[in-house]
């Protein structure tokens, strides 16, 4: 099950909080990153698969941006996006494989 | 188990709540005096504030009874080895010692050591069961006053979910 392994990885990465943002970010960068993260988070909530941590990271990103810390804000927003995407991937995968777990 | 109307008690409650004494209508002066006395007595009978402030066993025993305790195997302390939740730890104390007049339960690792103290008049058995909060793993000490002397026994109770959240 390759998708499964991928999701495991995504979950692990998201828990570890790894991101790829290493540049000096501007407000525009933050806005773009936040917009993408928010859209992903909304999608996850709509699918009823959201993670509590996603919203936490979004809020933290907003807070960082409010004090001008755009590097940090972008990093947090990217992380939120990664969390939201992992949760969506989780839901899609589970929709297929949940019957395997049923007691029979 | 029917609750009976208890007018004087309601009055006493009002006094304790700080309601104006004059507000207690329909009672004679003698009744009033009696009520106030009862109210004061309840305070004077009192709650040992000093003892409840102490942070170790010796301090509690000194404040409560003015003496120290010796170990006794005639006290049965029933407490769980592992508390299901520190907020509600059922603890019972029983003793076969003669002329028991008081029982106290101490938890040294709580912010304050004394949790509960009980007065046992003549005719009442040397037994009490209650539920206590424990902040973390601690020794629990049961102290029994028998014939004017203090005796104690203890037991370790493991707490993984602290109970100061109660």
């Amino acid at each position: 099950m390759r998708t499964r392994a991928l999701i495991r990885l995504a979950v692990v990465l998201s828990v570890a909080g790894m991101t790829t943002a290493t540049f000096a970010a501007s407000q525009a960068d933050y806005k773009a990153a936040y917009g993408k993260a928010e859209a992903a988070a909304k999608q996850a909530v709509k699918m009823k698969t959201g993670w509590t941590t996603t919203d936490k990271e979004l809020k933290a990103a907003k807070k960082a941006a409010a004090t001008g810390k755009y590097d940090e804000a972008v990093k947090l927003a990217d992380h939120a996006k990664a969390l939201a995407e992992a949760s969506i991937a989780q839901a899609k995968e589970q929709a297929k494989i949940w019957p395997e777990a049923v007691i029979r | 188990m029917k609750q009976s109307p208890d007018a004087p008690d309601r009055a006493r409650r009002m006094i304790l709540k700080g309601a104006a004494v004059c507000g207690v209508a329909g009672l004679g002066l003698a009744d009033m005096t009696l009520l106030v006395q009862q109210a004061l007595a309840a305070d004077a009978k009192g709650w040992p504030a000093e003892a409840f402030k102490q942070k170790n066993e010796a301090g509690v025993l000194k404040a409560l009874y003015g003496k120290t305790a010796t170990a006794s195997d005639k006290i049965d302390l029933d407490a769980p080895e592992i508390a299901e939740n520190g907020a509600v730890v059922p603890i019972a104390v029983k003793s076969s010692l003669p002329k028991v007049t008081a029982i106290a339960i101490l938890v040294p690792n709580n912010p304050y050591t004394l949790t509960a103290a009980y007065k046992i008049p003549e005719g009442t058995e040397a037994m009490v069961a209650n539920r206590l909060k424990m902040a973390k793993t601690s020794k629990v000490i049961a102290v029994v006053e028998s014939d004017g002397k203090l005796y104690a026994t203890s037991k370790q109770v493991k707490v993984t979910v602290g109970g100061c959240g109660g």
Binding site: W51, T53, S87, Q90, W98, R104 | I82, N85, G166
Partner: protein, 281 residues
């Protein structure tokens, strides 16, 4: 001969295929049998009627503390309050009791049920608020306090009766049941846990001092007084807190999915006694 092989093959494929494709036939009776067998085999020394006592059925130390607390359980206040609320007249003179058969006494085992008119699952908590709404009264917070008091009273008056959930032969009822089952087995949250991860696979295991309750009959003890909460909680509260514990967003209380999973899980508890309100660590 050849035909026989074909049939055998068809059966094998037929049973194996749903596992892979996920579009299997919904068969509550078979699920029920397998579910109960799983737990009775996993805990061979447990009396069947003891499963509803959750952690207290499988840990001697916890059981002793529970028995001590049951001598005078803190949920008594909730039961008394619930009783009072049931018969307290609304502004229109009617009462909560009027909304239920037998004035709400001894009927908890019939909830949730499938409402053929609306095509939806109606839980006891939903029914209470629907009654209030219908009578122009303020609805209750689904998670605790008054809602827990009313359901505690209704559970208390139903003690000893067996859970009796019906799944009518109606595709909508079966669909609701199936959605509930899916919800139960679907992993969610950042911890990637399903309801079943804890209450099927890990049932009976210790998580710190907590013992994970078996899913069999888990709702028969609801609502519960939890020392951890320092108060009463309803099924709605249990579901939302389970979700957040695995870092999944909780749904709104009485969301369709929660009602469906309650439907599924209650059906699995059929034949086991109502013991609510319960106490839990």
């Amino acid at each position: 001969m050849l035909r026989k092989v074909f049939i055998a093959l068809a059966i094998i494929v037929g049973t194996a295929q749903p596992l892979l494709a996920g579009n299997m036939k919904v068969d509550p009776k078979a699920d029920f049998k397998a579910f109960r067998e799983y737990f009775t085999k996993k805990f061979p020394n447990l009396q069947l009627n003891d499963f509803v006592n959750g952690p207290y059925s499988m840990d001697v130390g916890l059981r002793k503390q529970w028995i001590s607390i049951e001598q005078f359980p803190p949920y008594e206040f909730a039961v008394d309050k619930g009783k009072e609320m049931m018969s307290k007249p609304f502004k229109n003179g009617k009462t909560l009791a009027d909304c239920f058969s037998n004035k709400g006494v001894g009927i908890r085992q019939n909830y949730p049920y499938f409402d053929k008119k609306t095509g939806e699952v109606v839980t006891l908590e939903l029914a209470v608020n629907q009654c209030l709404k219908k009578n122009g009264e303020k609805t209750l917070n689904y998670k605790k306090d008054d809602m827990a008091a009313v359901t505690a009273y209704m559970a208390f008056t139903s003690r000893g009766k067996n859970m009796d959930i019906k799944i009518p032969d109606d595709p909508r009822a079966l669909a609701a049941y199936n959605k509930g089952e899916e919800y139960f087995y679907t992993r969610r949250g950042q911890f990637n846990f399903s309801c079943a991860s804890c209450h099927v696979q890990l049932a009976g295991k210790h998580l710190r001092t907590e013992v994970l309750a078996p899913a069999l009959g888990i709702l028969n003890a609801m609502p519960i007084y939890r020392s951890n909460w320092g108060g009463m909680g309803t099924i709605s509260r249990r579901f939302t807190s389970c979700n957040t514990q695995v870092r999944a967003d909780a749904l709104k209380p009485q969301d369709e999915l929660y009602r469906d999973v309650e439907y599924y899980l209650s059906y699995m508890g059929n034949g086991l006694p109502i013991v609510g309100p319960g106490s839990r660590p």
